[in-house]
């Protein structure tokens, strides 16, 4: 489906628009899926019949203005929140029917800004990722140690294992959280605006890291250019509904940006790897 077709607000009556989303060719098979999920809070509908099937091994970007429901959708996918309507399934089983531990061995979550007041080291934090794999009373197995070691190595933290959490910069903390998520050995990784509060170098480094992991990832992002550069698929939410999905090239059009964000922009195909590059020109004139 194309972006222009779905940006008509009247066409999204009960959510069928969103049901044909990224990677729907694998429908009915393995993996994490949201099927027409809805969620209300305080009388307002935050999500309204959103469907999402992240393409295996690819990075799916969630875009949308503030309050469009990105974080809520991620929380539903993680099973931290339960949908009011619709269902989230893992390998075709509804999430509430899968044990919490089993979910945590499949899906790892990186929050926007995690913090603790405990005096934990980098190693301590990454080891938390093994909790769903370990039984009460049992000591850490060789597999646990290996998962932690490999997570630290993949995130470039091998020489920082004993650094205290409180001494880390924002970029390092996010890196540690991703290492913790990797120690869970997930097949799906959910990240909620992981580049918030990072400088541009760390934003690029973090997203490069995520794309190089080759794990099915869903990442909420604010920066359209970063989304264009790093995501394989994009899903755009507005007021709790999917208004566009597809490749960055198909989704990020001048019309969509004007419609969803209320911003005038020019989109050229001269970004890295000929991906779309967006230049913002100013606020769109209010109709």
């Amino acid at each position: 489906m194309t972006g222009s077709e779905t940006t008509d607000p009247n066409s999204t009556s009960s959510g069928p628009t969103g049901s044909e989303t990224a990677g729907s060719e694998t429908a009915g098979s393995e993996g994490l899926r949201a099927d027409r999920v809805g969620r209300a809070a305080g009388g307002t509908l935050i999500l309204d019949g959103v469907s999402l099937t992240p393409r295996p091994g690819a990075v799916t970007g969630l875009l949308g203005p503030n309050g469009s429901g990105k974080s809520t959708l991620l929380r539903l996918l993680a099973g931290v929140l339960a949908p009011d309507s619709g269902v989230v399934t893992l390998d075709d089983r509804p999430l509430p029917r899968v044990s919490r531990r089993a979910v945590a061995r499949r899906i790892a979550v990186v929050e926007q800004q995690a913090d603790t007041r405990l005096a934990l080291s980098v190693h301590d934090v990454v080891r938390l990722g093994r909790i769903p794999h370990r039984r009460a009373w049992a000591a850490a197995t060789a597999a646990d140690e290996e998962a932690v070691r490999s997570a630290l190595a993949r995130t470039g933290l091998a020489d920082k294992t004993h650094r205290p959490w409180h001494s880390l910069s924002g970029g390092e903390r996010q890196r540690v959280q991703i290492a913790r998520a990797l120690a869970q050995e997930p097949r799906e990784l959910l990240l909620d605006e992981p580049t918030n509060h990072l400088d541009i170098q760390h934003q690029l480094a973090l997203l490069t890291l995520i794309t190089e992991l080759r794990i099915t990832s869903v990442v909420a992002l604010h920066d359209l250019n970063l989304a264009a550069m790093y995501c394989d698929r994009l899903v755009v939410l507005r007021e709790g509904r999917v208004v566009a999905c597809g490749s960055p090239h198909d989704v990020l059009t001048e019309a969509l940006i004007a419609d969803v964000y209320g911003v005038r922009a020019t989109v050229t195909a001269d970004g890295p790897d000929d991906r779309p590059h967006i230049r913002f020109l100013g606020a769109a004139p209010t109709p």
Binding site: A78, S99, A104, I131, A136, W137
Partner: protein, 362 residues
């Protein structure tokens, strides 16, 4: 912390064999640490028993205990044997049990509620217990069927049930649990004061004051047995949840996404700590400070991982209260100071010193 040298060392020891050897050495060191901790506790108990108006040596303690356990014959006169076996030993053991139990409850509450000010009494258990005890002592509630400690235990449970109900209706978040506990604490303290002011005579008031501040002077073997049983059960449950408690480091949602059933865990651990606290408070009164502060001291010793923190907290709490109670019963001899008063008088400066030393490592 010593960042540079230790970091380079770990980078070098990435080879699995060296890692395994380091782990083995760490395991040995840990075993030694626990062994010496337990030895320190046993020695503390043995030595604390010898201190007091009647002159008793450590050897006398051993032989009295051995004789009662059926090894060897009694060397002591019945009077001195009674002092060891019926007075000082149960009292010292109850001190150890209370110290360990209250400190563990504090450590669990602080992690579970993510609040460094949480302590075993934050669930309103102690104030409920005092109201129950006062109702029995002053108004004769229960018509002679209820002992003071029985009344205290019932009061503690009623108060805890109220806190659970209140925090559930208020939304069930950790903040609400703490707020509901504070509300219950205020309510039951007011009730206690009201009953004491309106109905008690001076003598009863004095007795109750002693109880409210915490005292181990009435310790007998029943108290020790009940307290120790509760401690063993609660410690087993909490240690079984040690890793689950670790998962709360980054908050509830993080714990959920690490596979923890947050609601169930919270209920199980709150009930466990409340029951242990109720059992301890009903025999020793509300001994403050231990549950609030000892976990912080233990955290400085072991770090925040609960598999090590909980046993360490239990050991430090036990040793601490054994010595504080010894001081409480001897410092103004023949008068006795409520142990709760001494815990705070000694504990606060010690706590400040510990936190001050820990400041540099953060």
């Amino acid at each position: 912390m010593t960042a540079a040298p230790s970091a380079s060392k770990t980078a070098a020891s990435e080879a699995p064999s060296r890692g395994a050897r380091a782990a083995a050495v760490g395991g040995l060191r840990r075993t030694l640490l626990w062994a010496s901790g337990l030895a320190l506790l046993c020695a503390s108990v043995a030595v604390a028993i010898t201190i007091g108006p009647a002159d008793i040596a450590v050897g006398d303690v051993w032989s009295a205990v051995a004789a009662h356990l059926g090894w060897g014959r009694a060397r002591l006169t019945p009077l001195r044997d009674g002092i060891v076996w019926n007075l000082r030993l149960p009292r010292t053991l109850l001190a150890a049990v209370c110290g360990a139990g209250l400190a563990v409850c504090g450590a669990v509450m602080q992690s579970l509620l993510r609040n460094p000010l949480a302590d075993p009494f934050v669930l309103g258990v102690s104030s409920g217990a005092s109201t129950g005890a006062v109702l029995v002592v002053v108004l004769g509630a229960g018509g002679g069927l209820l002992s003071v400690s029985g009344g205290a235990f019932l009061g503690a449970l009623v108060s805890f049930a109220l806190v659970l109900l209140l925090s559930h209706t208020l939304g069930g978040t950790t903040d609400r649990v703490v707020l509901a506990g504070v509300a219950a604490m205020q309510l039951f303290s007011a009730l206690t004061s009201f009953v004491v002011m309106t109905a008690a005579d001076a003598e009863t008031t004095r007795g109750i004051m002693f109880w409210l501040l915490g005292s181990l002077s009435g310790a007998d073997w029943t108290d020790v047995t009940v307290g120790a049983a509760a401690l063993v059960v609660a410690l087993t449950v909490c240690l079984g949840h040690a890793r689950t408690l670790d998962a709360f480091a980054f908050g509830q949602d993080a714990a959920l996404s690490l596979g923890v059933s947050v609601a169930r865990t919270r209920l199980v651990l709150l009930c466990t700590t409340a029951l242990l606290t109720a059992a301890l408070v009903s025999s020793a009164g509300a001994i403050g400070f231990v549950g609030l502060v000892l976990p912080h001291a233990a955290r400085v010793l072991t770090g925040p991982g609960h598999t090590r923190l909980l046993p360490a907290t239990a050991l430090t709490g036990a040793v601490f209260l054994v010595w504080v109670d010894t001081l409480a019963r001897t410092v103004l001899d023949p008068q006795e100071v409520p142990v709760g008063v001494v815990t705070s008088l000694i504990g606060v400066p010690a706590f400040v010193a510990v936190l001050y030393r820990a400041k540099g490592t953060r």
